[in-house]
């Protein structure tokens, strides 16, 4: 479905069910899935379809400048968090669970900690760390030679097992599809996302006061946001639970889609 946010068209996948954007009276709990840098909604297809077909109202937006959404990428995590709040407004959603991956997890975190804490019922953070450093070499590649950046991200965001495939989605080569998804984004989109991640420095006190239920999902073989960094994040979020998916890398929704779904089900189902 398309929504109008700040006079620009924003696309949101609805999990394969008809959109009910103006259904303010909907009793269904809402879940918003937020993608990472250089990605779009399609990384969440399997998990979001499950929730959409099991009583949830689902929105999986393409962030501004990404995928099917118009505009240019937002320059900071805070701006993106404000945009998610505007998305909730445009869709007449008062309160939602936010599920974010990588850059998307920082955006979700900032909505819950700063932008609109009262509108977040649940917060699921996948492939997350605070801070989220980005190597200078990757930033330089994203600026000067995107193809090299795609290769670096593929190398670092997949587990040793994932680098050889064995996808649970029949016939789909994860490295090829991830590279091509990044290649689909407009020039500069990846750099803007990585730079926003690198610069995000939230107030630790605000993180500690997040009221929403918090669940962290980590891949044990994640080399982009390593497990030790995720554990450090958990120490900043006193109420957060943690589930670790054995063997999964940073691209854990693609490498272990069922395990991610089961973890989110356990967290979000009443």
């Amino acid at each position: 479905m398309n929504l109008l946010i700040a006079n620009q068209t924003a696309y949101a996948y609805t999990g394969g069910v008809a959109a009910v954007a103006t259904d303010a009276d909907s009793a269904r709990p809402a879940v918003v899935f937020i993608h990472g840098a250089g990605q779009d909604h399609s990384g969440w297809t399997l998990q979001s379809r499950w929730f959409a077909h099991h009583g949830f109202r689902v929105l999986v937006p393409d962030l501004p400048g990404h995928g099917r959404s118009a505009g240019t990428p937002l320059a900071s995590i805070e701006e993106a968090a404000d945009w998610i709040v505007a998305l909730l407004d445009a869709a007449n959603i008062q309160r939602a669970a936010l599920v974010g991956h990588s850059m998307g997890s920082l955006i979700a975190l900032d909505v819950a900690a700063r932008a609109a804490p009262s509108r977040v019922s649940h917060l699921a953070l996948l492939g997350c760390s605070v801070p989220m450093p980005v190597a200078d070499g990757l930033l330089a590649a994203a600026r000067d030679d995107e193809a090299t950046a795609w290769q670096m991200i593929n190398d670092w965001s997949h587990s040793p097992r994932g680098l050889l495939g064995g996808n649970t989605v029949p016939g789909v080569w994860l490295l090829g599809s991830n590279r091509q998804l990044m290649a689909r984004q407009r020039p500069g989109v990846l750099l803007a996302g990585l730079d926003a991640c690198r610069r995000y420095a939230p107030d630790a006190a605000a993180l500690a006061q997040i009221d929403a239920a918090i669940h962290i999902v980590a891949g044990s073989a994640d080399r982009m946001t390593p497990l030790r960094a995720t554990l450090a994040l958990q120490s900043l979020l006193p109420t957060a639970g943690l589930s670790t998916i054995a063997g999964a890398g940073h691209s854990l929704m693609a490498e272990a889609p069922d395990a991610v779904l089961d973890s989110l089900r356990g967290f979000l189902l009443p």
């Binding site: 399609s42 399997l46 050889l164 996808n167 789909v172 080569w173």
Partner: protein
Amino acid sequence: MSYQFDTLTLHAGQTPDSEFGARAQPIYLSTSFVFKDAEQAAARFNMERAGHVYSRISNPTTAALEERIAALEGGVGAIAVASGQAALHLAIVTLMGAGSHIVASRSLYGGSHNLLEYTLPRFGIETTFVDPRNLDAWRSAVRPNTRLFFGETLGNPGLDVLNIPAVSQIAHEHGVPLLVDSTLTTPWLLRPFEHGADLIVHSATKFLGGHGTVVGGLLVDGGRFDWTAHAGHFPTLTAPYPGFHDMVFAEESSVAAFLLRARREGLRDFGACLSPLSAFQLMQGVETLPLRMARHAENARRVLDFLAQRRDAGAPISRIVHPECPDHPDHAVAQQLLPRGAGSVISFSLAGDRELGRQRGRAFIEALKVFSHLANVGDAKSLVIHPASTTHFRMSDAALAAAGIAPGTIRLSVGLEDADDLLADLARGLAAAGKVSVGSTPAPSAPATGAAA
């Protein structure tokens, strides 16, 4: 770090068996797969959970082959089917229906030409055939209802090298994808996606399998073509599909919408799936693809050099056709696109019009001891055929000439034997052909060697 091509030929797509630790790819010869519980069953049917349900749609062994080929081609994914022809059919019916139009190279394998020229028009899909070297012809053949460009990386029978960068640019200017048949090149010689192609089909029966034992095909998606940007052209991918809960495939998958529809509709409804046993056999072949293709290319060069030497020494050879020959019209394109080699299919013509050429062709073939006389290419064993007396025997000399075939044309598929044995065999054939003159009758000889070679 990501792995190199030769490593991927052995490992991509295969997870060591979790039950018994089998190192080789297990053959899951099972039509269907037990669900863990009712929730998983429903979720798999509705594409909320990934996994295998029924082997017409997907199978673990077949999926390993699909991933491996996608990895080698640099694509987003692949679908294995029962033959190369099934792959071509699946590509076309996934993209279009009645009222659509294809622009295709006229230099195609006969089965593909037949599908486009005679069969698909019965279902409302028309094709305009063009000289693949004439870029203006590709451009001027485009109609408002054109939905696909199609050509072979190495065409039949003249071994034309498709100028993929130029042809794909024209296709994209008109909002249509370029599909290439890469059977004769394989990803070891050429990776078409890197040059602008959008979709690839393989007859895996040939060099991918490589041993002449199993028939199969593959359809690979590069994930580069933006179907949504040309939504009006491709409603099968961009409009709701009543056959699967009004799914819009291009929304479900930003880069693999084509494969999603091809599997969910094409395999489900047309059903040309590959047997898991065949998938295993093809994977066995793919494991040695780099070694075999290097040897194919090396032996082909030895044969080309030998034929040229014999021609220069007076053997009755009027023409040698291979893109590595400097006089081939696509020699420059081959140097650009095929630096590792232009394949191991070679054709050459024994001098002589009409009956003399045909008699020399027969004499040549019948003298061979190592080359097997049969209608195939891409086997580990060397193969030979004389089109004028076999595949094209009903055609007049004029019709043969129009197809680029002389009465004395011989097609070789150079295999992996010791090159010296191959050259000695060809020398035998040339000696026999040289003894045939106008009005002579070839001496009775042993039957063709196909069965024994």
